[in-house]
């Protein structure tokens, strides 16, 4: 395999963005601009599917490795994937074209700039998921802040400035400590190459501090309680496509980081800090679920539910059980699909009524039936109904948790019930009930593009709900090897 497929995946959206930059945007060629962006992202999507076909599931070795000298005698540009990262890459390339289709309805001005930001974002996100060098990882990880800051700030709602600043500064503050840790690793081990670091291991006496530095960055990005407060603000103010990107892909960077770096590089510290993660996760699950219950803004409710779902993910990761970590990854993929769909659902009614308040709606089931059906499906997927991908993830996570710590698992299971409560209550208040607000009668049902996007998201949600085998097969070997390496390290010390 000499064709640099991963670099092409990273570069292609940027090239598309560059192309858009030189296309003058006006009313007539807004369509052209959109097709260019869509075409680029679709090519990227098929390329990533091709990657999945070529991918060898029987090994946990990194594949498609590209290793080039980047800064001499310091950093190599090294990318490669294993079973854990490939799913996130596909999720990214899958969500981006849907985002681009969805801008039809929500983005009114500066369309081409918006698409440039989205495409550059895609480049950075793919970069995050396939970089095998800590500095390269940090570079992509941080660079993603720029387009997201602009997406929230330029195209966002009324409090967009506050939210954009909060988003940027919170995540930057978390990340700078990670940079200190990365440079320290370089001086401790002489390399920032992840593969080499896996082999060498990091001296146990440094692991705790390094783990905490990485944790500070990932905890903000995940986001974990109590540093989750930027997320509801960012979600509420971001345009629909921005929320989708944020929920579906950006939040997954931290979960991925926990598995790849916290578990992989600092097993001893991870073992020590597992109780901390458990406590924070359980608090996140219970506490933010209750907060979500009380929200009056639909987007805010879904944002808080994201925090709760990510609580499950972090819980699952640190069970260090095969099922737990598999569940976490499936939960992340599923949450990527479902929360994206839910934000789009909110976007659909928002575009028509310009209100995100739950109290505006009610009794729309007869007015927009198609919408109601799809919204129902995603609501159920979000609360983890069997037969949807959400169930598989949550079930596996809880299974892993029961193996590791009974009490934590019981409390987390309670969170599932509250989760069902707020999602169903949301659905009830928005879709069912009496039609009080007579303006709602004017609402039109889903148009073709909206229907297409939501169906696209519904298919994998259901498919992987009934048949999660393809996902599990892809990640199984990588995770079991990760766990055995982890256990060897922990036992040794």
């Amino acid at each position: 395999m000499n064709f640099p497929i991963l670099s092409s995946l990273i570069l292609l959206p940027s090239i598309g963005a560059l192309f858009l930059f030189f296309t003058k945007s006006n009313k007539e060629n807004n369509i052209t601009v959109k097709y260019v962006a869509l075409f680029t992202s679709l090519v990227n999507f098929f390329l990533s599917i091709y990657l999945w076909i070529l991918f060898d599931q029987s090994t946990s070795e990194f594949q498609f490795i590209e290793d080039r000298i980047w800064i001499e005698s310091l950093i190599n540009y090294k990318v490669g994937i294993d079973g854990i990262s490939i799913l996130f890459i596909i999720l990214t390339t899958f969500i981006t074209p849907l985002c681009i289709i969805s801008v039809n309805n929500s983005i009114k001005n500066r369309l081409s700039e918006f698409l440039i930001a989205v495409l550059i974002m895609e480049s950075f996100m793919i970069g995050v998921f396939c970089s095998l060098d800590l500095v390269v990882f940090y570079l992509f990880f941080e660079a993603g802040l720029i387009p997201m800051f602009l997406i929230i700030g330029i195209w966002g709602g009324t409090r967009r400035v506050y939210s954009a600043f909060k988003f940027f500064l919170f995540t930057l503050l978390g990340s700078v400590l990670m940079l200190v840790a990365i440079i320290s690793i370089y001086w401790i081990s002489g390399t920032t190459d992840v593969v080499k670091l896996y082999e060498l291991g990091i001296d146990a006496k440094y692991q705790n501090l390094l783990w905490l530095a990485f944790f500070s960055s990932f905890a903000v990005k995940t986001p974990m309680w109590p540093v989750h407060t930027w997320l509801p603000d960012a979600h509420v103010e971001a345009p629909t496509a921005g929320s989708v990107l944020l929920a579906a892909i950006l939040l997954k960077m931290a979960g991925y980081g926990f598995i790849r770096f916290s578990l992989g590089l600092f097993p001893i510290a991870s073992e020590i800090f597992t109780p901390l993660i458990y406590i924070l996760s359980v608090v996140a699950i219970i506490f933010t679920s209750f907060i979500a219950l009380m929200q009056e803004d639909m987007k805010k409710l879904i944002a808080y539910s994201s925090v709760a779902h990510m609580g499950f993910v972090t819980l699952g990761i640190f069970t260090i059980q095969q099922q737990g970590i598999e569940g976490s990854i499936i939960q992340m993929i599923s949450h990527g699909l479902v929360s994206a769909a839910l934000f789009l659902c909110v976007g659909v009614v928002y575009d028509r009524m310009h209100s995100r308040l739950i109290s505006t709606y009610g009794g729309i089931v007869n007015i927009i039936p198609k919408y109601s059906v799809l919204f129902m499906l995603f609501t159920l997927a979000a609360l983890g109904l069997p037969g949807t991908s959400g169930f598989v993830g949550e079930f596996l996570i809880l299974m892993g948790a029961f193996k590791d710590n009974f009490l934590v698992a019981v409390i987390a299971s309670l969170g599932v019930i509250i989760g069902a409560a707020y999602m169903l209550w949301l659905y009830k208040r928005v879709v069912f009930g009496k039609l009080v607000n007579l303006d709602l009668k004017e609402m039109v049902d889903l148009n073709k593009s909206e229907l297409f996007i939501l169906t696209c998201l519904a298919i994998p949600t259901l498919f992987f709900g009934f048949y999660p085998e393809p996902l599990i097969n892809t990640i199984e070997v990588s995770i079991s090897d990760l766990i055995s390496a982890y256990n060897i390290n922990v036992v040794d010390n």
Partner: protein, 472 residues
């Protein structure tokens, strides 16, 4: 004196200055001619320095009072190029204020001469001579727009405070001379006796004087006022060129004679660095004038390059030089934007004047966006790499506290850069600015933006060049 050709650039420059002065006096309305001649002279000297002295072995001249090595040649080229760029982008501004006079170019050339002497100095007296030559030229440059109250005030303030710091510096020199019996850096190094507390006092006084010249906290008070009052191109000159020269002297002074006393001066540098980084970041938040803001931001950036110097290692020196080079590039871009904010023969320099720039001037605001994110140190732009090298060398010496404070202050600093971006991109647009900028201005903006943007493609190039600088 077989090596006289090595100081040919300095000799050529001083002769040219005299020639231009005479030409300017005898030929009426010759400012345009002198401008072009000065540009050519600067380029010629840069080429000569590049060809003749870059890459030769360390050579001492005039009884060891002048040193020509890789560091001096590199810094001279940076100085010359920066001065060249300042000259080419300043003509429009000067014409607008009707101060496009021959003195401007000549003063810039003389200050460059002073800096070249500073950079090459290996002796306290030579160093002081160069310093005063450049300072005298800079005082006049600060007041160059003499009809404006603020400009005169800036010049006066700069003169008084700078004279004070020169006094301290001289006092330090005399102490060092008294206790080592020499003014030559290499000789001082051999005469060191770490038990002499007066020697430490001497170092402290000289450091204070130097810290003043690069406006490191707590000797920064003049910078915001002077930067705000001076004509914009002169401010640009202030933020870039004298800092390069002063930083070189910093390196030479600390690492040649006093390397063995590192325990004594390291603390001072760490303090200067932390104070500058934090203070620069926090004080800039409340500013409304862009030139004042960039003054505080430059204080903060100087803090980072001092952090590199505080490490006491070759990597630290190199990272500091890389930092200042990239910083010059970013500053050049920023001021090019500032010089483009012109409407009806009036330059606007308040933050509010940037409001909604992205609607009226998408390309200009995009460049400014890139430059600001780079100044904030966000990857993958050049500014990130500059900070990365600094923190790499700092952490290598296990100075974790310095690294963490530095990185936290980048977060604080990010706030005010973001505020500018917010005003440009999120706020309502105002009237359009003129677009008839000179070709050179457009060139310098495009070039600096592109270099910042694509620096990550070939980051090794600059390192390769700088890594030849080995002082220790």
């Amino acid at each position: 004196m077989s090596n006289l050709e090595l100081v040919f650039p300095e000799i050529f420059l001083s002769l040219s200055i005299m020639f231009l002065l005479i030409l300017g006096v005898f030929k009426k309305n010759s400012s345009k001619l002198i401008q072009n001649l000065s540009l050519i002279i600067l380029l010629i000297i840069a080429v000569i320095t590049f060809n003749e002295t870059l890459g030769i072995e360390e050579t001492l001249l005039f009884n060891g009072s002048i040193i020509i090595d890789y560091l001096s040649s590199f810094m001279k080229i940076v100085t010359l190029l920066a001065a060249f760029l300042v000259l080419i982008i300043s003509s429009n501004y000067l014409r607008t204020f009707k101060i496009f006079k021959i003195e401007y170019q000549i003063l810039i050339l003389s200050s460059v001469l002073g800096m070249m002497i500073m950079i090459s100095s290996n002796d306290l007296i030579v160093f002081y001579m160069g310093l005063e030559l450049q300072s005298l030229a800079l005082y006049v440059l600060a007041t160059f727009n003499r009809d404006q109250l603020k400009s005169s005030e800036a010049g006066l303030k700069y003169f008084v405070l700078s004279a004070l710091s020169s006094g301290l510096l001289l006092y330090g020199c005399s102490l060092i001379y008294g206790f080592t019996g020499s003014t030559n850096f290499n000789l001082i190094a051999t005469q060191l006796n770490s038990n002499e507390y007066a020697l430490t006092f001497g170092i402290v006084f000289i450091l204070v004087g130097l810290a003043f010249k690069i406006s490191a906290v707590p000797f920064h008070m003049w910078a915001p006022d002077v930067y705000e009052g001076s004509p914009t191109p002169v401010t640009l000159f202030f933020t870039m060129v004298p800092k390069v020269a002063a930083l070189t002297v910093f390196i030479r002074f600390l690492y040649v004679p006093f390397l063995n006393l590192i325990d004594q001066w390291q603390m001072i540098l760490v303090f200067l660095s932390i104070a500058s980084m934090l203070f620069g970041a926090i004080a800039a938040i409340g500013q409304t004038n862009l030139k004042r803001l960039i003054a505080y931001s430059s204080i903060s950036h100087i803090g980072y390059s001092l952090a590199g110097l505080a490490t006491g290692s070759n990597e630290g020196i190199q990272s500091s030089i890389i930092y200042i080079t990239i910083y010059i590039l970013m500053n050049l871009g920023f001021f090019s934007c500032l010089l483009m904010m012109k409407r009806n023969n009036e330059y606007h320099e308040n933050i509010e004047d940037l409001s909604g720039l992205s609607k009226n001037h998408p390309l200009l605001s995009l460049s400014l966006l890139v430059i600001l994110f780079s100044l904030a140190g966000i990857p993958p732009l050049a500014g990130f790499f500059a900070k990365f090298y600094i923190f790499k060398s700092v952490i290598e010496q296990s100075m974790y506290f310095l690294a963490i404070v530095g990185l936290l202050s980048t977060v604080v600093a990010a706030f005010y850069y973001l505020r500018i971006i917010k005003i440009m991109y999120f706020d309502k647009e105002k009237e359009k600015y003129d677009t008839d900028h000179s070709l050179w201005l457009k060139f310098s903006l495009t070039a600096s933006t592109l270099l910042i943007l694509i620096y990550f493609v070939f980051p090794s190039q600059l390192i390769k060049v700088v890594s030849k600088i080995n002082i220790i």
